[in-house]
């Protein structure tokens, strides 16, 4: 079927975006719009002795200046995170934060004052002349020091910097496995700190209608319904009906825009206070110090093996840097990390302890992968170290330990049970695709040019598709279909893929399907888009909504064709009476259903359906990635020569869009492995990598063409057989690339290197080993 499920349909959204006709928050202009600018802390840890705004307030064009004291006196609520009680060990300590801090600043970038003015320039000029008297305190930014307890306490009165600890598994069983083991591989695995850099920096507009006492928030947010719920209930203590949240076109989210931010609160508050719509637009340099960062985990890991090279136990004691203030999504990555540490392997005993530390840095929160890349990185580094220490080929040691397809469903020693997967078959396919058997020849060729060459693989799995979702399908009287989605597309191409599905399910033209999303007044419920969930959970709900449309259509067709609904068959857009030539088209039914005459009451009015899908345990996209690199030993420069991915994301709805997801995901994973690093000053706590000059995003010319193969093993967890596709590239790339780099350096005696594997780190490792 043209444009149906499985077809490589180009995106409906592309002409709009490619021709600059998208409508992002910053494109929205309103009469009487005023502008807000956030004055931020320049210190990592300091006491605010005083703030003097009088000169700034007097600047012509300044409408008002708000501080943390105003926030408290106006009685606004605070921002906090939900901690998962099932994983929590001991108590959780949060210091819920206001949208403007008072008394203390606990990281560079903490919001101190909100200046509202007629223009953004005036607001910035006014911010420059606000006088703040800080008493600078010692700060703690470096996780390696924080985890050793060797730093100041971030929040006065706490005994340590641990905010909360997640734990899973069976420590005694692991201890027993270790004592019986033939070999234990130990390593401290570091997952470096990174930041998202969405193409569209965050932007918010707040509006307050005094007559209706209703707020409207435009925000670049992945989950508008969640933002409404939290801001209405926790910050303003108003009914959700009094807040409309609109997320129009959003230029990339990657989890970083998954929760609301303080600036969303500030524009709403200021709009009410000054009776003007207020826009706040982040500049790129501001996004480096205000968008949540991610990863920044150090783990002490031990993996035990029997004499045959089979894993018998795993112990991971990890430390997460969650920043100075726990972000609304701050506990999500530690949760996925903790739950997924069995990965694709048969590990009889696992123990995970994940301590989450306050530091004087920006909050960390989900970023593409959110805990999954961290766990996969540990497992795949340990596998390669074991391969080295036990002298077993890296492919073979994985083969010994990968869960086989015969063992499905497989209950891990942690929480999850995997329903499906062909991990060994996928690894073998990737090995073949990467032409691994001829690697030695390619290596010789590199050596003849004076270069080192390495190959590395990563087998990985992730957990996708959390929660439930609600989708609505509505026909108008002309037969056009509107999908009202609880999900939110911010680059993924949902309008295309939902159109493919509806066209396939209901036999309506692909062109006549339209998407409504991202507006809480139009979408009554929805969980937004995070965690590789939209096509699995949202798509399955769409299938159920289509089924409801068909059921309703059958009743109407039965009435119109004067037969019982049980005798009506539905096929490709046509309702027909079984065994006759009597039929009626779905668009005709839609048309008549809007102006029914003399119809029985139970047929109602209009043609629509609502589907709700509960994903249960979710699903487990998985794959194997193989990286091949060449290293210039004189400079330490790595060239990624080849990148193979064989992935299982279940049934493929649109291979072209899947390819896009994999490309982006791989690139972000490779970025972390080779280029990207958030660097804080070791003592003063300043963010050093605070612009694109020093935060090295990968560019197309740093990357090879990717070799992408799909190996679908449909899941039984949803009616479509689809597994999540959004994060799989990012999960496997860092270990595959690192393993390849270390493989290249192995002959020189290098056994480990931290991400990102920059030229200097490689140069240094080679010098140390020599």
């Amino acid at each position: 079927m043209k444009n149906g499920v499985g077809q490589p349909v180009t995106r409906k959204e592309d002409p709009k975006f490619l021709m600059g006709r998208g409508r992002y928050v910053d494109d929205i202009d309103l009469p009487d719009l005023a502008y807000g600018f956030v004055l931020r802390s320049i210190h990592a840890n300091a006491k605010i002795r005083s703030i003097n705004t009088s000169e700034a307030k007097a600047l012509p064009g300044v409408i008002g200046i708000l501080t943390g004291d105003d926030y408290v006196s106006d009685g606004l609520g605070v921002i906090h995170a939900e901690i998962n009680p099932n994983l929590l060990k001991g108590e959780a300590i949060q210091y819920p934060h206001a949208a403007l801090v008072r008394e203390y600043v606990k990281c560079v970038g903490a919001p101190v004052a909100f200046v509202v003015a007629e223009t953004q320039s005036i607001a910035k000029d006014a911010a420059e002349i606000i006088e703040i008297d800080y008493e600078i305190l010692e700060s703690a930014t470096d996780l390696s020091k924080v985890r050793s307890g060797n730093t100041p306490i971030v929040w006065e009165g706490m005994k340590s910097n641990v905010s909360f600890t997640y734990g899973m598994g069976d420590a005694e069983k692991v201890a027993a496995a270790f004592s019986d083991s033939a070999h234990i591989v130990k390593s401290t695995v570091v997952n470096n700190r990174i930041t998202t850099n969405a193409m569209e920096p965050r932007c918010s507009i707040g509006i307050f209608e005094p007559g209706e006492e209703k707020f409207t928030l435009y925000s670049s947010n992945q989950r508008p319904n969640n933002a409404r719920q939290a801001i209405a209930n926790e910050i303003f203590e108003i009914s959700e009906a009094q807040l409309r949240v609109i997320s129009p076109d959003v230029g990339g989210g990657f989890g970083m825009k998954g929760s609301f931010y303080g600036e969303d609160v500030l524009v709403l508050w200021a709009a009410r206070k000054y009776s003007r719509p207020i826009k706040w637009n982040s500049e790129r340099s501001e996004s480096f110090v205000t968008d949540s960062h991610a990863r920044d985990v150090i783990s002490d890991c031990e993996m035990s093996f029997d004499a045959d090279g089979k894993v018998t136990g795993l112990r991971v004691h990890a430390d997460y840097n969650i920043g100075a203030y726990v972000a609304p999504g701050g506990s999500i990555s530690p949760m996925w990390f903790t739950l997924l540490l069995s990965g694709v392997y048969r590990i009889p005993a696992v123990e995970v302890v994940t301590r989450c530390h306050f530091t004087n840095t920006i909050s960390t929160a989900p970023y593409r992968g959110a805990g999954r890349p961290e766990s996969a990185f540990i497992l795949e580094r340990l596998m390669d170290m074991a391969s080295n220490q036990l002298n077993i080929d890296p492919i073979e040691i994985r083969r010994k330990n990968l869960i086989t397809s015969d063992e499905m469903p497989y209950q891990t020693a942690l929480m999850f049970s995997y329903d499906s997967g062909e991990f060994i078959e996928i690894m073998d396919e990737a090995v073949k695709e990467a032409n691994w058997s001829e690697f030695e020849e390619r290596k010789k060729e590199s050596e003849s040019k004076g270069k080192l060459r390495g190959i590395g693989l990563a087998c990985y799995l992730e957990g996708a598709a959390p929660f439930n979702e609600r989708m609505e399908i509505r026909f108008d009287s002309g037969g056009t279909v509107t999908v009202v989605a609880g999900t939110h597309s911010h680059g993924q191409g949902h309008e295309t893929i939902y159109s493919q599905m509806v066209s396939d399910f209901l036999g309506v033209p692909y062109e006549s399907v339209h998407l409504v999303q991202g507006d809480t007044d139009k979408v009554p419920m929805g969980r937004g888009t995070v965690g590789s969930r939209s096509i699995t959970v949202g798509g399955s709900a769409l299938r159920l909504a289509s089924d409801e449309v068909i059921e309703k259509g059958k009743k109407i067709a039965g009435h119109l064709l004067e037969v019982s609904p049980e005798d009506i068959e539905f096929n490709n857009g046509t309702f027909s009476v079984a065994g006759t030539d009597k039929s009626i088209d779905i668009t005709e039914i839609a048309k008549r259903s809007h102006t029914p005459v003399m119809w029985p009451g139970e047929l109602g009015m209009g043609l629509e359906g609502v589907g709700v899908f509960q994903s249960g345990p979710g699903n487990f996209p998985n794959g194997c990635q193989i990286a091949e690199v060449e290293v210039d030993a004189e400079t330490g420069k790595v060239t990624l020569e080849n990148m193979v991915i064989v992935g299982d994301v279940g049934t493929v709805i649109n291979p072209l869009l899947l390819g896009g997801q994999i490309h982006g995901g791989l690139t972000q994973g490779i970025g972390q492995a080779l280029f990207e690093d958030v660097v804080y000053e070791k003592n003063g706590g300043q963010l050093l990598s605070a612009s694109f000059q020093d935060y090295t995003m990968p560019r197309a010319d740093d990357l090879p063409f990717y070799d992408i193969t799909s190996h679908p093993v449909p899941t039984k967890q949803n009616p479509l057989g689809v597994k999540g596709a959004g994060e799989t590239g990012t999960v496997g790339a860092p270990p595959a690339v690192l393993n390849a780099v270390i493989n290249a350096l192995q002959s020189k005696g290098v056994t480990d290197i931290e991400m990102p594997a920059t030229p200097e780190k490689i140069w240094l490792a080679l010098r140390k080993a020599a």
Binding site: D125, E128, T635, F675, R699, D702, P759, L764
Partner: protein, 288 residues
Amino acid sequence: MRPFEFIKPDSEASAIELLGKLSPNVRILAGGTDYLVDLKHTADVPKTVMDISRLPELKGIDEVDDGLRIGAGVTHTEIMQNPLIKKYAPAMIHAAHTIGAVQTRNLGTIGGNLVTCVPSMDSGPTLVALDAEVNIVGKDGTRRISLTDLFVGPRKTSLKSNELLTEIIIPKRSLGKPANFYKFGLRKGQALALVNAASSLWIKGGCFKDLRISIGAVAPVVIRCLKAEKYLEGKKIDEKLVKEAGNIAVTEAKPIDDFRASQSYRNDLIAVLVTRTINAAIDLADKD
């Protein structure tokens, strides 16, 4: 950013006149790729900004009596596309290509790159290796100095506040001279050089002649490695000697040590890059 006066003269003469009147309370804007970034963040907003991007006298690349003249207002993109540069100084094309991104190269000018005088400038080493000179115009007329005499320190040149750098001259003796530029950054494009280097040379009777070695980002300004040059000058082409010249060049540099790269790494890169640029220039040279 506070308000300032913006002026845009239409000839070199009127620019010089205005400069004479307004200096030192005036800053010059050409492509703006460096200065506009500064202007957004600086507390020191000038009284006047003078835009020289449209001065016709600062445009064009021409063959003149004493060599090749490159207008200071020529953009990096224009350098990359110019047939005379391709014929006489192709290493400059390579150097220009490593500057910023397409947009930066379309706006940024060679004169701006030189007078901004950051140690990591990518136009510098190749021009120094080709013995380039610059014409500087002030109210008393034009003076010509060697490019190396322009550079004084980080973001500091020997230009007086009422002078304008108008032209770069590559002397006739350097036209067509085998030369190579090498930049090492953290990625291929849009990256700051950790170290950059350029070498040029002739080969006469199998020996080095008029060897020039220049390195950037490893001293307060782009420098010539005179000791390394002297070490190889007149000697027979030999891989080992070239490597030793790389080591000598290290002794002539004073790289900084910061979070972008350590001093010892930069030192090692100097040796590698100098060696590689000399070897690449040897490959380009006629060997008789």
